[in-house]
Symmetry: C3
Subunit: 341 residues, 3 copies
């Protein structure tokens, strides 16, 4: 597979991580690396001057929406946006395909989040411009999966390790956790990976996904105890009990706070420099507190580096899909304002 | 009437289609034609670099809001936006004129949608910058009327015909349908027009408007049967039962789905190349289905060309009101990114 | 204190007016003066080209939000935005500090409004970029206080007077009125100020603030009668009964409309050229009507000049914090479009 000029994904929609082979991932990550000076505001680029992103969030997600929008702004483009479902023509009986046919006339590329599984692919099938899936219900959120993997790669690189040979523990609601599902799928592209899955039995990783992982050569162990599972891993990936995916708050409460990680547990059980990740938001209410705030001063807490990396990965996706990677630096100039970074 | 430099509408608010004479329409449409390379992203222009649109949608309308916003972006300007009613100072007892006095200090031009008839004119009376009516309740939505007429002109041109001599059928809720009211008024400016009105008696076109049309020389026929009415027309203009204008969903249900058009009916009854239009959103739920999806592959289905034309018409309005039409090409440059169009 | 290059506030968060000394105020106001040609669209500047404002309104406030956003656009920057509380990750148990750690990676500066007192400072403590408080509950709204004081200075200048020696009457809900609290604090920085406080006893200015004012040398008189209090002042500052701060609408109704000002009262009681101000929105419903619409033609009604000045003050804050004041004119160019001003 040759990437002279990002041929493969030019004009493509990004709907699922199953679109990616290992070489694709590597290409995206190397483009993401090149975005760092722009995301850090050491330079600005106007390469997408005149381009418009349609940031269509039919389900609210402030963080992801702003991340996509800022990524597009950082490349010099403009953003038109919608938030929420009721506000849209969908409430008037319009099909998603019709919405796509219309909205795709208003922008050069679309990011879309929607509460229903499969909705973004449905939309993309009728769109006249590329669509990036910003999360479709419990189904996929490919840029989140990419930013997680990119973060793992980057953190391990600092420790002289790589994605091949990765040892990771995933903790929490592994049944509903879209991010861990996606991450597991991506890990199948790498060699000698071992995964510890820690969850209540009722919230276990779907068994077909576990089977797929094993078939792909991943060593998988399942447990409902956190301590032994985090003892010999490079990455502890904690997740939130996704209350909104449960039938009631009470049901969610049964599981909330079951697998807390704090500095004392970390110190007792983890190898030095074990990296702590979380897809965010972390639930910091006393009854949940998946990642205690006493970890905030732990330099291995990578959760905010994850969201920063999200910006890089999203810039890379825009750059590759719109085929401007080779022009980003050409339209660069100096930052004029005070940069606290 | 002379338009050397769009003198007439420079700095003007666009509140009602009754502001337009035939020459105005022609001028707007010729400017709209010139916007096509920019809307198609064959070129970009920065002519409105530094200008700000206040996109004030006190009633949600994703499609119209994004269309106005993108049109302004395509000319190089920025967009500030509000969506919804509760979110605004209006809920604190502020008069619309006060809101206008304040908000008009923040932008160079304002688009406004509001649920109440007359509200936009009220607002415009106190605004210090031009205001475009983006829909005020059941009253007016002039840019929609213009894009409909522009689409009709463009579609007919392909068939060697023009607006003079137009034969059109309007179908559905002609009582509440703001778009058909406006279109009828615009058609009074042209010669030899004939209109077939098809609706349940309870949802008939208001009789004073029918009288006005006849007085203006339009041949009008009313019916509650779709088939004979669509047999000898250039345009079939179907509309949605506007549930939100009825007192209950049940009442709306009485009429929903009464006048469906599908490919079989089209083939049996319409002349070849009869153009199908709809103000969108079309209600694609089984119980409504005004325009069947089997028409989607019919090349005469112009409904998505309508929304594309909306972008051109709105760009033209901005360009004329802000008096930059003669400068659009001067500030043009090449598109750098991959354009799937 | 020396301001060669706005050293003091470069990179600083603006959380409270207690951060300002008299020289700071003067510096901000002189920078605001220089923003006038840009706000009036006599020129445009691209000085913040490439910069991103995160306009985070966790409580709706159309006017303030659009004002901040437009101010940033007028300096050439882009705006990413959120409106409302439910829409955000906060509803998932995320701490404000976590939200700040994430969102501050997406922009160069943040404006934030939030319904809870102290929330913006809490957020700013974890933000990696400067934060401007756009209002945190009943606590602070420093840019509003600055625009009020800037307006007073500007209006008095036209009358050959200055902030030293100012005589002002403040009227209405002085208990909940954040803007009058802040204005009082700022006035402590000036000499020979006298203040008339007019309110129902139950809505009186907090006594500790009155004490502070007296200690700072301000002459304070309290009353529940409007007429005598407005007879010998330069400024009448009227405020709205803030229904949303009361426990019920009924309780708010007890006070609404108690202190109306209209042209007849103005003519009978005020000195010539007494300036009328209000933080807006003014409640124009018949039962409130704090400032009668018959004052709209009174040239001393400065309420819309206040909001226009808000744009200047906010541009000045951005310019100073991001340290581009010396570059604003360097990146200026002509306005190309029709400017009705």
């Amino acid at each position: 597979m040759v990437y002279g000029g990002s041929v493969e994904f030019k004009g493509a929609s990004i709907l699922s991580i199953s679109q990616f082979e290992r070489a694709d991932i590597d290409h995206i990550f190397r483009v993401a690396d090149r975005m760092e000076p722009y995301a850090q505001r050491q330079r600005i680029t106007r390469v997408l001057d005149g381009a418009i992103l349609g940031n269509m969030f039919f389900e609210a997600s402030t963080r992801t929406r702003i991340s996509f929008g800022s990524a597009f702004n950082l490349l010099g483009g403009e953003v038109r946006e919608t938030v929420g479902f009721e506000a849209s023509a969908l409430a008037k009986g319009e099909s998603l395909q019709d919405t796509a046919r219309v909205l795709s006339g208003f922008s050069d590329i679309i990011c879309m989040r929607h509460p229903e599984s499969g909705s973004v692919a449905d939309f993309a099938s009728a769109s006249r411009v590329p669509v990036i899936n910003g999360g479709d219900g419990s189904n996929e959120h490919p840029s989140q999966a990419l930013l997680d993997l990119y973060t793992i790669e980057k953190e391990l690189k600092g420790l002289g390790r790589s994605l091949d040979g990765l040892r990771v523990a995933m903790i929490g609601d592994l049944k509903h956790g879209r991010t861990v599902h996606s991450l597991c799928k991506l890990l199948m592209l790498f060699d000698n990976v071992s995964v510890q899955l820690v969850s209540p039995k009722e919230l276990a990783m779907p068994s077909n996904l576990v089977d797929d992982m094993r078939e792909a050569g991943i060593s998988v162990e399942e447990s409902d105890k956190i301590e032994p599972s985090i003892s010999h891993v490079d990455i502890v990936y904690s997740t939130r009990i996704q209350e909104e995916r449960f039938s009631s708050r009470d049901e969610a409460d049964l599981y909330r706070g079951r697998f807390r990680l704090n500095q004392a547990i970390y110190t007792s059980h983890c190898e030095p420099n074990t990296v702590i990740m979380h897809p965010l938001p972390r639930d910091s209410r006393a009854e949940a507190n998946e990642l205690d705030s006493d970890l905030d001063s732990n330099p291995n807490l990578a959760i905010f580096r994850q969201t920063d990396n999200g910006l890089l990965v999203r810039m890379a996706l825009f750059s590759i899909i719109l085929d401007v990677t080779h022009l980003v630096d050409k339209y660069a100039s100096e930052v004029r304002w005070y940069n606290p970074r």
